[in-house]
């Protein structure tokens, strides 16, 4: 049975809010910040309309706390922010990680660091998305390149959060967040394959909230929502499988942190999303993500039209990085151009991936830090220069 689709004009941020509603989001705690505020504004109407909970909290520290609290009880919870707020969220993102708490964080990036450029786009939070909170951890981060992806990747973000019981970041930016384009969305969410967290059977004598032995999804404990019949003590401390803090032992900590990291890396084939287009096995590949993928693809198409053999790779999950897939796409390449609106953050990751695989491919950074989107001609000039 096919779902009826409707054709809409939405702003990226509005699409993110609609995607959240479609995914079953029923709790949002936010704080105003340019250029993400429209997500909160949209949900301040849509959540009450759909009998969900909307809270404007006193700061982003409280937002993430409220999101964790709500999610623990079973809510599909989300917050949305930009760079300075994303910095404040990190504390409780760490709490969510160590306690396997599903949640979604939208970061609509702007110029940084600090207050930076509130109304101008950038991609400077890429590494922060990976390592913003302290301690060893993995992260799932998705980078939309269109209004449509703002919707569908938000749905995906909720699905990943529920399936892997982890925070998931939607790493958008001011350009994508504020642009409006045509988007076709389903009237109902039937065809969207919504995933809901797995709950344990009631009355189990052997229930342990952080025990993933034999779990349906590798490494992911089937943890009961609090208030549904299993009572345990939880904290942000290193803990054993019952939740009891075990702070005197690196052994226990290693097991816990190991499982938390491994649950992402072990399942990476299911998580990783990417696009690999145009000339395959080309000597030159352009790798771009988020809003920069738009002019990058335009430049590659123009290069092909002019007779050059150029490939195009777009990571959709920035984290975990599509390392195997990048190696494959660069199999015959001498050079990869990485245009991005930061000082070469993902180019650094590409260098790391190539180094780890022992491949010598020249990584050419193209870091435009102006106020405008990188122009297709700028990328095309670089393509011609290195071809």
């Amino acid at each position: 049975m096919s779902t009826k689709m409707k054709v809409c004009l939405l702003q990226g941020n509005e699409a993110c809010a609609e995607g959240a509603i479609a995914a079953g989001c029923n709790f949002f705690a936010g704080y105003p910040i340019t250029p993400a505020t429209e997500i909160a504004e949209a949900l301040s109407k849509r959540l009450p309309q759909t009998k969900g909970m909307f809270l404007q909290m006193e700061d982003e520290l409280a937002c993430m706390g409220a999101v964790c609290g709500a999610s623990l009880t079973g809510a599909k919870a989300m917050t949305a922010t930009s760079g300075p707020g994303f910095t404040l969220l990190q504390e409780n993102i760490g709490f969510a990680i160590i306690n396997d708490i599903p949640c979604v964080i939208a970061d609509v990036q702007r110029g940084g660091p600090s207050t930076g450029l509130p109304t101008l786009s950038a991609q400077g939070d890429v590494m922060q998305a990976r390592w913003g909170t302290h301690g060893d951890h993995q992260m799932i981060a998705l980078a939309p390149s269109s209004v449509s992806e703002c919707y569908y990747l938000t749905v995906e973000a909720f699905n990943y959060a529920e399936k892997y019981r982890t925070p998931v970041i939607l790493l958008s930016d001011a350009i994508i967040g504020h642009m409006r384009e045509r988007i076709d969305i389903p009237e109902t969410n039937e065809g969207l394959n919504i995933f809901n967290r797995i709950q344990p059977a009631k009355g189990r004598k052997d229930y342990r909230p952080y025990d993933a032995e034999g779990a349906a999804v590798w490494g992911v404990p089937e943890q009961a929502n609090i208030g549904t019949g299993y009572r345990n003590y939880m904290s942000g401390c290193c803990h054993d499988e019952t939740g009891s803090p075990k702070m005197g032992s690196h052994t226990v900590a290693r097991q816990l942190v190991g499982r938390l990291c491994d649950k992402i890396t072990h399942n990476r084939d299911d998580i990783v999303r990417y696009e690999n287009k145009y000339a395959q096995n080309a000597k030159l590949v352009v790798l771009a993500y988020g809003s920069v993928a738009r002019p990058a693809e335009a430049a590659v198409k123009e290069a092909l039209a002019q007779g050059m053999q150029v490939g195009f790779f777009r990571p959709i999950t920035l984290w975990p990085s599509p390392d195997k897939e990048i190696i494959q796409a660069l199999n015959s390449a001498d050079t990869v151009i990485v245009p991005e609106m930061n000082y070469g953050q993902y180019a650094g990751e590409v260098e790391r991936i190539l180094g780890a695989a022992g491949k010598s491919v020249k990584v050419v950074k193209l870091d435009e830090l102006g106020s405008e989107m990188i122009l297709p001609n700028t990328i095309l000039s670089k393509i011609k220069e290195v071809y």
Binding site: L9, L61, G65, G69, N92, F95, T119, G236, R294
Partner: protein, 473 residues
């Protein structure tokens, strides 16, 4: 009354606290209160922060959640808002509540959300070894006030009242029997309740401040506590060093989640996105090229954002693909404004104008900045009210006193942007006039429909004449 030991999480005992620490007394008082309420353990969320006080919830066989420093109220707010039927209370230390958590404490009081907070005030940061806290007495010694605390302590109850909490009380760990009663009153208050309990920290505070035994600290609480009535008869000086205990506030104010529920029940509309599916009545000529680029430029306040959105929506109603991208300065009014609309029957990669098919310039500045970006054979439309335009070889240049017409003839300067849209529609046969008009009327409030129909029609006629004049050339 016998304490039901089934309420204790005995696997975690003995407690981590020092001998005589008041936290254990408070924990027992809170558990007794829960015992008396007769609640199902599964329905109780016991939330704490960081510090010695955080461990209180470990010893209670409820859904016990120790959160991050200062943020317990945020977590508890999320839990309660997601499940208002659950019983949610918090045990917080003085530092956790009043220092790092101060902002959340104030806002929770203001919200009057149905939570009960028991503040275990031992005047010190105990877990980390005894540093000064917001409630450490003046002149007291701590590890970070080796020369005596130069600061004055804050009164948690006064702040709670000022910020809007509806039940506020104080007692001490000496007055152990009072704890369950006050906590129960907090539970029963349908709003934000604060019960502050002064409790001894023998290690972090006591040893450094002249106490030889923890019993002396309890004795001091006994000897220096006075009731609210007794305090009312004393001068400021006489109150020095006294602990005023009792119920400071017991009032009613509509609880936050009740208000939210009431609001939700009153909502009948939906702002779900509208379906703009192609209307077969919208007929127009096809696009002449795979990609059409239009740039609307001028200053903030000229309505170019709205025009761009309307144009973009019209194209989608006509079954096309379209993107709108906006760029502006930080000023709320004035400053630059630029709306780009890209139209295509296929995929659109670059979502901004690279080489414009049509440039609308409503200010001299924007005309000069963007005129060079118009492609060969492209159109430039300028508002002669503000722009002195030149003939540019290879470009089709048109001008019209858009703003003056809007202001003087239509009587409303803010209809200029719709007049401009009319011109653009008249100039381009791939735009269906009815589709554009429908979008204009859909996006603008009813009270300005008549005005904007006039503006659009005028603009359309002007645009058509412009198109025919050039085609005749």
């Amino acid at each position: 009354m016998a304490l039901d030991k089934k309420l204790l999480r005995t696997a975690e005992f003995p407690t981590i606290w020092c001998p005589g620490c008041g936290h254990g007394v408070v924990t027992q008082g809170v558990i007794r209160a829960c015992n008396d309420m007769g609640w199902d353990k599964d329905d109780i969320f016991a939330v704490s922060g960081i510090g010695c006080s955080a461990r209180t919830t470990a010893y209670m066989d409820f859904n016990s959640v120790q959160t991050t420093h200062g943020r317990a109220l945020a977590f508890a707010t999320g839990m309660k808002a997601a499940h208002p039927e659950k019983h949610v209370f918090l045990l917080l230390g003085d530092g956790d509540c009043m220092s790092i958590g101060g902002n959340h404490f104030m806002h929770s009081c203001k919200r009057n959300i149905d939570l009960t907070v028991v503040v275990l005030n031992n005047f010190i940061y105990g877990m980390t070894g005894g540093q000064v806290s917001p409630t450490t007495p003046h002149n007291a010694i701590s590890t970070t006030t080796a020369y005596g605390n130069i600061d004055e302590p804050v009164d948690i109850c006064k702040i709670a009242i000022a910020a809007g909490a509806t039940f506020v009380a104080r007692t001490t760990a000496y007055h152990a029997a009072q704890i369950p009663d006050l906590v129960k009153r907090g539970f029963k208050n349908h709003g934000f309740s604060v019960i502050e309990v002064l409790d001894p920290c023998p290690t972090g505070f006591g040893g450094r401040n002249g106490f030889k035994a923890v019993t002396q600290m309890y004795d001091k609480l006994r000897d220096n506590s006075i009731t609210i009535e007794q305090a009312s008869k004393l001068s400021e000086e006489e109150l020095e060093g006294k602990y005023v205990i009792g119920v400071f506030k017991d009032s009613t104010r509509e609880e936050y989640l009740d208000k939210y529920k009431r609001m939700v029940e009153g909502i009948k509309n939906s702002t779900a996105p509208k379906d703009l599916s192609a209307n077969s009545n919208y007929k127009a000529e096809p696009l002449k090229a795979p990609r059409y680029e239009c740039r609307l430029s001028g200053s903030g306040g000229q309505g170019l954002l709205m025009s761009g959105i309307i144009f973009c929506e019209t194209m989608i109603r006509q079954g096309k693909n379209a993107v709108h991208a906006q760029s502006y300065g930080v000023e709320a009014r004035g400053g630059k404004s630029r709306s780009d609309v890209i139209v295509s029957d296929g995929e659109i990669n670059f979502p901004e104008v690279a080489s414009a098919d049509l440039l609308l310039a409503m200010t001299q500045d924007s005309y000069e900045e963007y005129r060079g970006g118009v492609k060969d054979g492209g159109m430039i439309v300028t508002d002669s009210t503000f722009v002195k335009a030149e003939k540019i070889p290879g470009r089709r240049c048109y001008e019209y006193p858009i703003t003056n017409y809007a202001k003087d003839t239509l009587g409303e300067i803010r209809s200029a942007n719709i007049l401009a849209l009319g011109i653009i529609t008249g100039l381009n046969k791939f735009i269906c006039k009815d589709a554009m008009m429908d979008t204009v009327l859909g996006r603008l409030p009813k009270k300005v429909h008549e005005l904007n129909i006039k503006a659009f029609e005028e603009g359309y006629e002007v645009g058509r004449k412009m198109l025919e004049s050039k085609e005749a050339e």
